[in-house]
């Protein structure tokens, strides 16, 4: 469900599924753990293909941030309307750096 591309400036992790919900939250967290371990520097999570995140999916994204080693940062990009609302309602938008698009986060990656 994840594709990782390592750039000199960041690792770009693209979510290839359209829902991060309770049915896949554990798998998402496991794949994030592997993606973080196999990459360097900041990680930008591209959520532009994701149209739905529930509270379990949100919890898994927060959990992924906590898996980041000291000195590395997880950032988000490309939140669709429904996903953006979930982050704002729960105020989890305040704990992440959120970029409008992946190109804003890592230009010409």
């Amino acid at each position: 469900m994840l594709t990782t591309r390592q750039d000199t400036r960041a690792a770009i992790v693209t979510v290839d599924v359209d829902r991060i919900d309770a049915a896949v939250a554990i798998e998402f967290k496991d794949q994030m753990r592997a993606a973080i371990a196999d990459s360097d520097g900041r990680v930008v999570l591209d959520l532009s293909r994701v149209g739905f995140v529930d509270s379990s999916g949100l919890g898994a994204i927060v959990a992924a941030m906590k898996l980041m080693p000291t000195g590395r940062k997880l950032e988000l990009a490309g939140l669709t309307e429904n996903v953006d609302k979930v982050f704002r309602m729960t105020r989890m938008d305040s704990i992440f750096t959120i970029h409008r698009t992946i190109d804003t986060a890592v230009p010409n990656a």
Partner: protein
């Protein structure tokens, strides 16, 4: 999952779904398809999808915790402005006889603790205009009224 035969213009849907997390997803996708067929703008998702997802997941994870034979009856009715969802399961009652949390639950989240859970009921209370829970005939009856986003 079985669904009643419905005509494309219908504004209601009754499903009896297997109480599993993937069964819950199937219910939401089925509902999206029905809304799309009817040309309803809510087919693109929104508050209704999140509320129903959280309520169904709670049934699987709490009412039916430790059981794999649970079923959930889902009655949905919608208009241009709101979605009514009535969910019935025969799992364990809500602790204390009432759903957890209230409309201020999300305001009490302490972001600095980086919480990985505890959002579900807060989202439900925030997004519904009416919520009713009762235990009747050995079943949980949860009734949710969700205003739909303007088209």
């Amino acid at each position: 999952m079985t669904s009643d035969p419905t005509d494309p213009g219908s504004t209601s849907l009754t499903l009896v779904a297997e109480a599993t997390l993937s069964g819950n997803r199937a219910v939401l996708l089925d509902l999206r398809r029905h809304l799309a067929k009817a040309g309803h703008p809510a087919a693109r998702g929104g508050a209704w999808e999140l509320v129903i997802a959280e309520a169904l997941n709670n049934i699987v994870e709490h009412a039916y915790a430790g059981r794999d034979d649970g079923m959930i009856r889902v009655d949905l009715r919608w208009s241009d402005t709101q979605m009514q969802a009535d969910l019935v399961d025969d799992g364990t009652p809500m602790p204390g006889g009432t759903p957890p949390g209230d409309t201020d639950t999300l305001d009490r989240i302490r972001t600095e603790t980086l919480p990985e859970g505890g959002f579900g009921w807060g989202l439900i209370h925030t997004l519904v205009s009416h919520l009713d829970y009762r235990r009747e005939g050995g079943c949980n009856h949860l009734s949710l009224t969700i205003p739909l986003d303007p088209a």
